[in-house]
């Protein structure tokens, strides 16, 4: 249930992704899991003026730091930014699978792609103004792309390093000009982006908040707690990270695209910080708050699911929780020992510890169900089969024996929150059962994710999770398990297992190239790569989690975007 800080982890992602080729479209691969438990709600497509107005009250345990859309990397604020900031492109702001579709936002249409997939030309919509009253121009777009590097955006070196001139900007952010990379033509109202190589995932990267367009006179440093002017339906009236964030309507906003940026329902959105999770639940139950950000505590789930079932919305996430096995350290430098863990772990037990089968599903593959490239297969389940059924402890014990690693010490590093720790305790018990001497090391969630990445900390086994940035198989396989993502001695080494197989790496590059012309074939290649990686067993997929949104009785029009979760601005309270 730990989604609070997950996206902060993405700061370390996609290290040196060597992505290639043409413009992309939405993946749209269906196969959604367990629709009975889902309540994504497609919502109403047409605006319903009778529901306009009122104050939507949101609560969270804590704020998520800086409010700068080009710097912040948390799900908590990325969710809010959907109703505030715009990029040239955007993920469609609707519920369900269609939310993975990229649509034009500040650009009036999808870009014209030329030069073999290396040049993207956008035409800006006319008449759009920032919340400070200034008109949006191509200069703002050019300045915003420069600013990504000037403020050292967490994804500057990964998502946007393919723009011509990005290398120089990464080396010397202050002097970033991207004069050949991002070219604006004010008179024609166009912006041209030149890439060093084709990138089939570039459209996705333009649709995330780090590519938001902000005024050209925005500070060339992290704006911190002083929110920048917006183009969307809401702007920040005040922000005190210790107390409250208040969003009000942007007086200059006029809906230009219902798909790209629909107008919102509430007049005011108040986001209060500083409550305990228990009191958040009580506040929503009593109608003192309309939605809580944090996952409900486990001992309140049953109450929410029964007495307040009509106010709870459960949706599957394209994410997975997994164990990393350090392939460069004993005992997991031995493939048999790694496979033993995969055979031993009872995914049903982990599902129970997470909150039950309606909150998570057992995972067998790196790619989550409903994600491009996912194919049902399960290499480590008793009796075989495409889906997980039961662990095989006898086989696990046998493999441990065969590997000659029995009796060795294994340190398990987990976050110290309730769910992670309980899974950690289960793993410790399990490892002792199959012949290891396991110790548990719970670390604060603030440091655990960077700690387990650094090889200097000699982490043998860690529990972590990964939530998609955008719907592409490479965002899991290439990011988490490629040689380029392994950086010994660095806190930003997202390939935590240290897995580096040159053959598999080459196949990942091939799949990226295939994606330039034939996405379906590329997804088949990714599926095969996923299965081959599981044979090597550098990770142990545990569960695919679901999310519970708990809303007050008066809230209506709940819509769940698979990309950015609940659409805050589309909720109505009248």
């Amino acid at each position: 249930m730990s989604r609070t800080t997950r996206r902060t982890a993405f700061a370390a992602t996609a290290v040196a992704l060597a992505l290639t080729a043409a413009a992309c479209s939405s993946s749209g691969d269906g196969g959604s899991s367990d629709p009975s438990a889902s309540s994504s709600g497609s919502g109403s497509s047409a605006f319903q003026p009778q529901h306009k107005g009122g104050t939507l009250r949101l609560v969270a345990k804590s704020a998520a730091g800086t409010f700068d859309p080009q710097v912040n990397y948390t799900l908590q604020y990325w969710q809010l930014y959907q109703s505030m900031y715009d990029g040239l492109l955007a993920f469609k702001k609707v519920g369900g699978q269609a939310s993975f579709t990229v649509v034009p936002d500040l650009a009036e249409a999808m870009p014209k792609v030329s030069n073999g997939g290396k040049t993207y030309t956008f035409t800006l919509r006319k008449g759009i103004k920032f919340s400070d009253g200034k008109a949006l121009t191509s200069d703002d777009v050019v300045a915003s792309f420069q600013r990504i590097f000037k403020v050292s955006s967490p994804t500057a070196g990964t998502f946007y390093n393919g723009i011509v001139g990005a290398d120089a900007c990464i080396k010397k952010p202050a002097g970033c000009i991207l004069d050949k990379g991002v070219v604006g033509d004010a008179s024609a109202g166009t912006v041209t982006i030149n890439l060093t190589a084709p990138d089939p995932e570039f459209a996705y990267k333009l649709a995330v908040p780090h590519a938001s367009i902000v005024p050209k006179d925005s500070p060339e440093k992290d704006a911190g707690t002083k929110p920048l002017p917006t183009t969307g339906p809401y702007m920040a009236a005040s922000y005190d990270p210790n107390r409250q964030l208040k969003l009000v309507r942007n007086p200059h906003f006029k809906e230009w695209s219902r798909d790209g940026q629909p107008q919102g329902y509430p007049d005011v959105i108040e986001y209060s910080f500083g409550q305990t999770v228990e009191s958040e639940v009580t506040a929503v139950q009593n109608g003192e708050a309309d939605w809580m950000y944090d996952p409900p505590p486990s001992d309140r789930l049953n109450e929410i699911g029964t007495k307040y079932a009509s106010q709870a919305h459960v949706n599957p996430l394209t994410a997975f929780w997994y164990l990393t096995l350090n392939v460069n350290m004993a005992p997991f430098d031995n493939k048999l020992a790694r496979q033993a863990i995969n055979w031993a772990v009872d995914r049903d037990a982990v599902v129970r510890l997470y909150g039950g089968k309606n909150l998570a599903s057992p995972a067998c593959t790196v790619l989550p169900p409903g994600f491009p490239g996912h194919v049902d297969s399960c290499a480590y389940t008793k009796g075989g089969g495409k889906t997980w059924s039961a662990p095989d402890l006898a086989k696990a014990r046998e493999l441990v024996k065969q590997s000659g690693t029995a009796g060795q010490s294994v340190g398990i590093v987990v976050s110290d929150d309730e769910v992670n720790k309980s899974i950690g305790q289960y793993l410790q018990s399990l490892l002792n059962e199959i012949g290891y001497k396991a110790t548990l090391k719970p670390l604060s969630g603030n440091i655990q994710f960077t700690y387990i990445q650094n090889t200097k900390n000699k982490v043998q086994l860690a529990l972590t999770s990964w939530y998609q940035d955008y719907p592409a198989a490479s965002d899991f396989l290439n990011v988490l398990l490629s040689c380029a993502s392994f950086h010994p001695g660095s806190d930003s080494s997202i390939n935590i297992s240290g897995f580096c197989d040159e053959g598999i790496d080459a196949r990942m590059q091939d799949a990226l190239k295939t994606g330039q012309t034939d996405q379906k074939k590329a997804d088949q290649e990714w599926a095969a790569i996923d299965q081959d990686i599981m044979t090597e067993s550098p990770v142990v997929p545990l569960i695919n989690p679901k999310i519970v949104d708990f809303t007050s009785k008066r809230v209506g029009n709940y819509q769940f975007s698979k990309q950015f979760y609940m659409l805050v601005g589309q909720l109505w309270v009248k």
Binding site: D299, R352, Q425
Partner: protein
């Protein structure tokens, strides 16, 4: 002619026997001792209960386990089947000593069995830490008080520095550091996950609380005539400390033992509750309270039971400590107006 005085009539019962008699006359102290005795006896029976009565391993997760209640096989962790089916609740108290008498925790472990094992750990740590504190505190207090001068100045300043830290802050800091790497102090090595680590940490932080009053007592003692006489007769310092000073401060040190045990148990519980004391899968009452925190709304017994035991045991230790103090140092009772 006077009647012959028999040696039996002349012999005094001695201070220890008098103190013991005084203690036995103190009903509160005797009741407290009885409570402690029961708690200790039950805790010592933990393996017996787990192996032969509950037939469970309280250190092993039973997340997918089942048990039989009223003739039906039920999962130990029961998923909700009503409404949206959210959440999983551990089995509640069965009130059947044969299995899950007090229910299960979030790992499906028998809470009763863990409570008994937890009692062993908490009592072991509390008593060991108290003994170590009193031994170290007595040594430091006696040496500093008697030798005085530079030794006293240095020792007193070190004690002041330790005293200046808030107890729990110091304990948490030490625990966080030592839990990562263990303790290596010359020939003394304590592994990171060892139960002796909290013992050492708790003992270290409470040394000033014993050493300072004892040092004050020794400062008064060293000017007494019998000490001066011993010095004048040329007795070596070590002998004076051992034969003259120590016996006079020992009753005070003994009074500290039950009180420090209670304090050490509370500190251990607090550290374990904060995950920097006893480490899983070992159990102490503090870790069980922590395990139950996420079950407060659904299975409050997991938290309440160890909490009550901590309160009961520390209260009993404090009452017993008062009784021991009254027995060994009646003047303290008089001073206190009791």
């Amino acid at each position: 002619m006077t009647a012959p005085v028999t040696s039996r009539a002349r012999r005094s019962p001695g201070p220890w026997r008098t103190a013991a008699a005084d203690l036995l006359r103190n009903r509160s102290a005797v009741a407290a001792a009885a409570v402690l005795l029961v708690v200790v006896a039950l805790s010592l029976c933990a393996p017996l209960y787990a192996d032969h009565i509950a037939h469970t391993d309280p250190f092993q997760s039973h997340v997918s386990g089942t048990t039989v209640v009223d003739g039906r096989t039920v999962p130990v962790l029961t998923p909700s089947t009503t409404g949206l089916g959210l959440g999983v609740t551990p089995i509640g108290p069965t009130w059947d000593t044969g299995h899950y008498f007090l229910g299960a925790d979030n790992q499906g472990r028998d809470v009763m069995a863990r409570l008994l094992y937890g009692g062993r750990t908490s009592l072991l740590i509390g008593f060991s830490a108290a003994l170590l504190t009193c031994a170290l505190g007595t040594f430091v207090g006696v040496v500093a008080g008697y030798l005085g001068g530079a030794v006293d100045a240095v020792v007193s300043r070190v004690l002041d520095v330790i005293w200046a830290f808030p107890v729990y802050l110091l304990a948490i800091c030490l625990s966080v550091v030592l839990l990562t790497n263990g303790l290596r102090l010359g020939p003394v090595t304590v592994e990171a996950g060892s139960l002796w680590l909290p013992v050492v940490i708790i003992a270290a932080i409470y040394v000033p609380y014993v050493a300072r009053p004892l040092r004050g007592q020794v400062l008064v003692l060293r000017n007494k005539e019998f000490i001066q006489a011993a010095v004048g007769s040329g007795a070596p310092t070590s002998r004076i400390l051992r034969r003259e000073v120590l016996p006079n401060v020992l009753p005070t040190a003994i009074v500290f033992v039950p009180l420090m045990t209670a304090l050490a148990m509370l500190t251990e519980s607090a550290l374990s509750f904060l995950s920097v004391g006893v480490q899983p899968p070992d159990a102490s009452w503090g870790t069980i309270v922590q395990d139950g925190l996420g079950l407060l709304y659904t299975r409050p017994a997991v938290t309440i039971a160890p909490g009550l035991l901590i309160a009961l045991t520390t209260a009993a230790l404090n009452v017993l400590g008062d009784g021991v103090r009254d027995a060994l140092d009646p003047s303290a009772r008089l001073r206190g107006g009791v």
